[in-house]
């Protein structure tokens, strides 16, 4: 078990955004979270990654309890994420975006920086080379010097994933990676996620609305509604699950349905 969430609860005023969420992720799994808008999926990510503190419940990373740790501490424990509305450092180059995530792996001290010692140059060069190699995995090697905001949308999504991976995580959380993508881009993204998981031996948890992506690559699904997990299982099971269908489409009321169809 690499990531485990137990009884996670979070209120915003009178609204229960999370209401006792439990799930476990095994090493190397690729799981998806689905659910109608406002069902608490992004809040769940924010609580896991330390942007919000939970009111109750716990988050375990491996053996360690990481509940309520600040965001940078969570990242250092090996959880990286992307954001639903891309949050790149827009006015910085693509290279700087990934280099920033590499921050805590850089080994030189303040004295090296102020005096520009050999250690400083060596370490900067090593970082530069490592990040260039890193960008080439994403076929972004020629984009290093461009400002993040000048890239096309699909590439920005890619850079965000690359940036998350540059912090060397064990678990990757993707918040709607396919939002705003056309069908062919979604296809590329699916292959891409699979390839990245393989290459970095990652555990991936993703939130997504595009059923093609979710059903296509997720090995296991968690369905949320009103802050609760209402179903979990294999994609094929979820597809037929009555509670899930009701959460998305609502329940049919005998009379109204017949009336409407009768009029037409």
């Amino acid at each position: 078990m690499i990531l485990e969430v137990q009884g996670l609860t979070r209120h915003f005023g009178g609204i229960k955004a999370l209401d006792g969420v439990d799930f476990r992720l095994g090493q190397g799994e690729l799981a998806g979270i689905i659910g109608p808008n406002g069902s608490g999926k992004t809040t769940l990510f924010n609580v896991i990654t330390g942007i919000y503190r939970p009111d109750n419940g716990s988050v375990l990373m491996g053996e360690e309890d990481i509940t309520g740790l600040p965001a940078h501490q969570v990242t250092r424990r090996g959880i990286a994420r992307t954001f639903q509305n891309i949050r790149l450092f827009r006015d910085l180059s693509v290279m700087d975006n990934v280099r920033i995530a590499h921050h805590r792996h850089i080994r030189y001290g303040p004295a090296d920086v102020l005096l520009r010692t050999c250690a400083f140059y060596r370490e900067e060069r090593r970082t530069q080379e490592q990040m260039e190699e890193f960008l080439s995995i994403f076929s972004l090697q020629d984009r290093g010097k461009e400002l993040a905001k000048n890239l096309p949308y699909g590439d920005q999504r890619k850079v965000e994933i690359a940036r998350a991976l540059a912090s060397h995580p064990k678990v990757l959380l993707l918040d709607e990676p396919a939002a705003g993508m056309n069908p062919s881009e979604v296809g590329t993204l699916m292959e891409f996620i699979l390839r990245v998981r393989e290459r970095f031996s990652l555990t991936v948890l993703l939130i997504e609305h595009q059923m093609r992506l979710v059903m296509g690559i997720c090995e296991r699904l968690i369905v949320m509604d009103f802050g609760q997990v209402i179903a979990r299982g294999l994609p094929s099971e979820i597809r037929r699950d009555q509670t899930v269908i009701e959460a998305y489409l609502g329940t049919a009321i005998e009379g109204t349905l017949r009336n409407k169809s009768g009029k037409r």
Binding site: H72, A80, F83, P110, L115
Partner: protein, 329 residues
């Protein structure tokens, strides 16, 4: 030994520039008045570079810069007043050492205070931080005004007099060159990238493993330390300190310089600092005496025009090649 070479590279421009200026003043090509203005410009530039680190690079909106400048000025002035005479007036090296120590102490005092102020206030976001630092500026002004009640040497509202005139061209040039190099080296390192990441998007920076609060405190403290050192130089240039020099309104002068030059552009801050100081003095000479206060009409107008024509400051984010981030060879 890369760093020995780098130190040599820092000493060289200081020596050449100071030598040239001293030569020109000895040959009476530059008169002492303009030499003094040049030193003031260097001092203002050091302080403005500090604010650029805080506001331009880290994105922290601070309106308390003049107060930190004042803390450095009073601290350094008090120390030289207490210790410079101690070794006799002939001891040039001892005086120099005491002065250097006092400047560093001024910078340290400002940094310490910045740290104390920063720990509670840097949890605030931009606008609120501005108000909080503004409040700090007002408090410090009151303390400067009444400083004579706890330390008579500080002079309080009557001003502090009898400060030795120790700042000279080499000191001012050295402080400026060191400030430029330190900030350049800092900004183009992983620490500087962390600061810029906070400016760009604090939530994303934290999600990338950067301890945002810690780096905000570091950026703020470092920037204020430069203000402190600049204050110390100022005190020993004009040999008289008055609380009105460190009024919170003076924080806006520095802020205008930084914005005018372009946020996050060291070249811009440098040019704007020198332009600011020389324009203020130049207009004093150029305008007929009865119109001298028109300086404060012309300069704001210039400011408005600049902001209309170049909204991101004179230099935008542009840097001269020397200040760019070439961090590997």
């Amino acid at each position: 030994m890369a760093f020995l070479k780098n130190i040599a590279k820092a000493v060289l421009p200081i020596a050449v520039l100071s030598g040239l200026l001293l030569f020109l003043s000895a040959r009476e090509i530059l008169n002492p008045y303009w030499m003094q203005i040049f030193q003031l410009a260097c001092i203002v530039a050091v302080s403005a570079l500090g604010l650029n680190l805080i506001y331009g690079f880290t994105g922290l909106f601070s309106l308390g810069h003049a107060a930190f400048y004042g803390v450095g000025a009073y601290t350094a002035a008090l120390l030289t007043k207490l210790y410079v005479g101690a070794y006799g007036d002939e001891a040039v090296f001892a005086t120099g050492a005491v002065f250097l120590g006092s400047l560093l102490a001024g910078g340290f005092a400002a940094a310490l205070l910045a740290c104390l102020v920063g720990l509670p206030t840097l949890r605030l976001t931009s606008d609120y931080l501005g108000i909080a630092t503004l409040g700090f500026g007002v408090i410090m002004k009151v303390i400067f005004d009444n400083a004579d009640s706890f330390l008579p040497q500080l002079g309080g509202a009557r001003g502090m007099t009898g400060i030795a005139r120790l700042t000279g061209i080499p000191w001012a040039v050295a402080a400026l060159v060191v400030a430029i190099l330190v900030i350049r080296n800092l900004v183009h390192s992983t620490y500087g990238r962390a600061l810029v990441a906070i400016r760009e998007d604090e939530v994303a920076a934290a999600a990338m493993g950067i301890d945002t609060f810690r780096y905000k405190v570091i950026g703020f403290t470092a920037g204020c330390a430069f203000a402190g050192v600049a204050g110390g130089l100022y005190a020993h240039l004009y040999t008289f300190l008055h609380p009105s020099t460190f009024d919170f309104l003076k924080s806006f002068d520095v802020l205008m310089i930084v914005v005018l030059g372009g946020l996050g552009s060291m070249s811009g801050t440098l040019v704007a600092s020198f332009a600011w100081v020389f324009l203020l003095e130049g207009l004093r000479v150029a305008l007929p005496p009865e119109y001298i206060e028109f300086r404060w009409v012309l300069i704001p107008m210039l400011l408005i025009v600049t902001m209309l024509v170049r909204p991101r400051g004179l230099f935008g984010g542009w840097e001269v090649p020397f200040l760019r981030g070439k961090v590997y060879r």
